[in-house]
């Protein structure tokens, strides 16, 4: 497989940061927590302790800096690979492991695969697996926000593959027509499972696709927290000022597999991955912080130990919780379920009581 599969490496810009040092350090902490979390979740899957996992390794800068530039009232429509965004929104590792295990504390009551979490109180809409469907939904929510006169934006998170989906085009088209306060945040990580970016579209960039819908489209170095933060903040300012939507293409690289069901060695070279490892966003920000005198190797070792402990403690606590109650999968189908479903529940509970079905 040719290394040409990777997006053109963006040139780091030597522009002054819009981020305060405290923000940079806080962003770095979340990025390191995300990386640590991903590594542990992958290990748990390999040990058979969780069923599935889709890591965001390599995409931490884009996710964390994007979320950092948003306000808590903004509505986020994630894909299933937005760990950094969820963490910035205050989601704890323990809540995530609760979801992965589908235990009694899982807010989704064990209904969804790992990664497909959602937290209403954080305006972090629950994810699904079909690609791109959240894009039109984000536009609709933005139309609703305008109707309610709320000064918020909605953000659709998706990857390079989603830019081929129906809802990407419908969503950008509607957003362009109705000038909605929406940010389309595309993390182009180079690969949609096995399909490289240049086979996904003949478009020169993914951001170019916005032009057909009368929407500004910008490419940003997704490994540069400063560039991402600035681009999202500016897009947000435009949106709340009534100036309409923006498509941002954050160029990143998926350093890990698509998911634990995927073996990337089948379709891409180690050499290509190595090139991008050199541009690891965490190493890059660490280097910047140390160079600027805001951070040290000793600080880093201490922080790594701290986040590892945090993740380990979260796993310990989540695994100690009981499973979701057996009949709970009958809940929340409809607010007012039909008699046929109620009858099925009674049948299930009878089988349970008689020991025919075992929890």
């Amino acid at each position: 497989m040719a290394d040409a599969a990777a997006p053109a490496p963006p040139t780091p810009e030597a522009t002054p940061s819009d981020l305060a040092v405290d923000d940079e350090l806080a962003i770095y902490r979340v990025m390191l927590l995300a990386r640590t979390f991903d590594e542990r979740a992958l290990a748990l899957q390999r040990q058979g302790r969780i069923g599935f996992y889709a890591p965001a390794v390599g995409q931490e800068a884009a996710q964390v800096a994007c979320a950092w530039a948003l306000e808590s009232g903004d509505w986020l429509f994630p894909s299933y690979r937005e760990l950094g965004v969820a963490l910035v929104r205050g989601t704890t590792p323990e809540e995530l492991f609760d979801q992965f295990l589908g235990n009694a504390a899982d807010r989704l009551h064990g209904r969804q695969m790992p990664n497909h979490y959602g937290f209403r109180d954080r305006n972090f809409v629950v994810a699904s697996s079909p690609i791109g469907t959240q894009v039109t939904q984000a536009v609709g929510a933005a139309m609703a926000a305008v109707r309610r006169k709320d000064r918020v934006v909605t953000v659709a998170f998706f990857g390079d593959g989603a830019t081929s989906s129906n809802d990407f085009h419908a969503g950008l088209n509607f957003a362009g027509v109705f000038r909605t306060p929406t940010i389309f945040f595309c993390q182009n990580n180079g690969w949609a499972i096995s399909l490289p970016r240049e086979r996904q579209t003949a478009s020169k960039t993914l951001a170019d696709k916005a032009a057909a819908y009368g929407v500004p489209g910008l490419v940003v170095d997704g490994n540069d927290v400063h560039a991402v933060f600035r681009a999202v903040r500016d897009a947000r300012a435009r949106a709340v000022a009534g100036e309409g939507p923006t498509l941002l293409e954050a160029q990143v690289y998926r350093l890990g597999p698509h998911s634990t069901s995927d073996d990337p060695r089948r379709y891409r070279s180690e050499g290509e991955v190595d090139v991008w490892r050199q541009r690891d966003p965490i190493g890059r920000l660490r280097h910047e912080l140390i160079e600027a005198g805001h951070w040290s190797e000793a600080d880093d070792a201490k922080l790594l130990e701290e986040v590892r402990g945090e993740v380990a403690e979260a796993i310990r606590r989540s695994e100690a919780k009981p499973p979701s109650p057996p009949a709970s999968f009958f809940d929340d189908v409809l607010a007012t379920p039909p008699p046929s479903l109620e009858a099925e529940r009674r049948e299930f509970e009878r089988l349970l009581a008689e020991g025919v079905v075992k929890p």
């Binding site: 509505w75 429509f77 899982d106 807010r107 989704l108 009551h109 209904r111 969804q112 497909h116 959602g118 937290f119 209403r120 809409v125 629950v126 699904s128 697996s129 079909p130 469907t133 894009v135 039109t136 939904q137 984000a138 536009v139 609709g140 929510a141 933005a142 139309m143 609703a144 926000a145 109707r147 309610r148 909605t154 129906n166 809802d167 085009h169 419908a170 969503g171 088209n173 509607f174 027509v177 809940d331 929340d332 189908v333 409809l334 607010a335 007012t336 379920p337 039909p338 008699p339 046929s340 479903l341």
Partner: protein, 325 residues
Amino acid sequence: MTETTIVQAVNRALREAMQADPDVLLLGEDIGVNGGVFRATEGLFKEFGADRVIDTPLSETGIIGTAIGMALYGLKPVAEIQFMDFIYPGFDQIVSELTKFRYRSGGQYPCHVVIRTPYGGGIKGGLYHSQSTEAYFAHTPGIKVVVPSTPADAHGLLLSAIQDPDPVLFLEPKRIYRSVSGEVPDGAGPEPFGHARVVREGTDVSVFAYGAMIPPAAEACEGVAADGVSAELIDLRTLVPLDEASVLASVEKTGRAVVVHEAPRFCGFGAELAAILAERAFFSLRAPVARVTGYDTPFPYALEQLYLPDAARIRRAIVDTARAG
């Protein structure tokens, strides 16, 4: 009191719902300035403006996807799909998203979108303006499926749909949009879901139908009196939730059942009714359950009158069922 058509009753329900609740808004193709291709939204654009009667670009996934986003945010969108035959670009949004939001979020995100769409044949619409694919949707957990057959039901059930906390697919029998008229009393309110209507009482055979099949079924039930058969006609009105109690009570009385729908027979909604009767009314049945349906072909254009169940076919099935066993 004046007579109202079904399409006028739809229009009236939309207007009343929008007057009562500023969160109710409409979106769809050609529904605003043009008032809808069937005029169901006539006058609403003028009364409520472009922000609440939204002419959308031509994309059903866009219409349903944005309606979902609005509902998640707290509005009460009523989306129009111009013909049920064109709903499939939005099928993913319905099946993967709309019907699963409440469930997949553990109840955090209810998603009350109403999707109105004209369905069914009999208007010389050919393959792509005639389909009745209610079974796809009734098969999918997480959505209610409503099919009125009278102006009063179109009005009352649509008001209920808009107030309902769950997603609702509201199927409008376009063939009888204007040919069936009736009174909708002043101040008429919502009609609750899950209650079948006995159109006509009888003692020998139960006939179950809905939507545009009610007029030919009613004609057939009148006709079989001449054959010495007393037929009971039940209008199901809501397929989900289904009024199973009324279905079973009728067959416990008559011991015989004919199921009518214009959709193809194989895996059609009638198959579910027949299965319910086999499971739960087996010992009341005195004859096999008969189905009078569209055939298992795509919907034909020139010969549609031969494809659609009519009073003669339904009447034959009622008489055969009455005499069987």
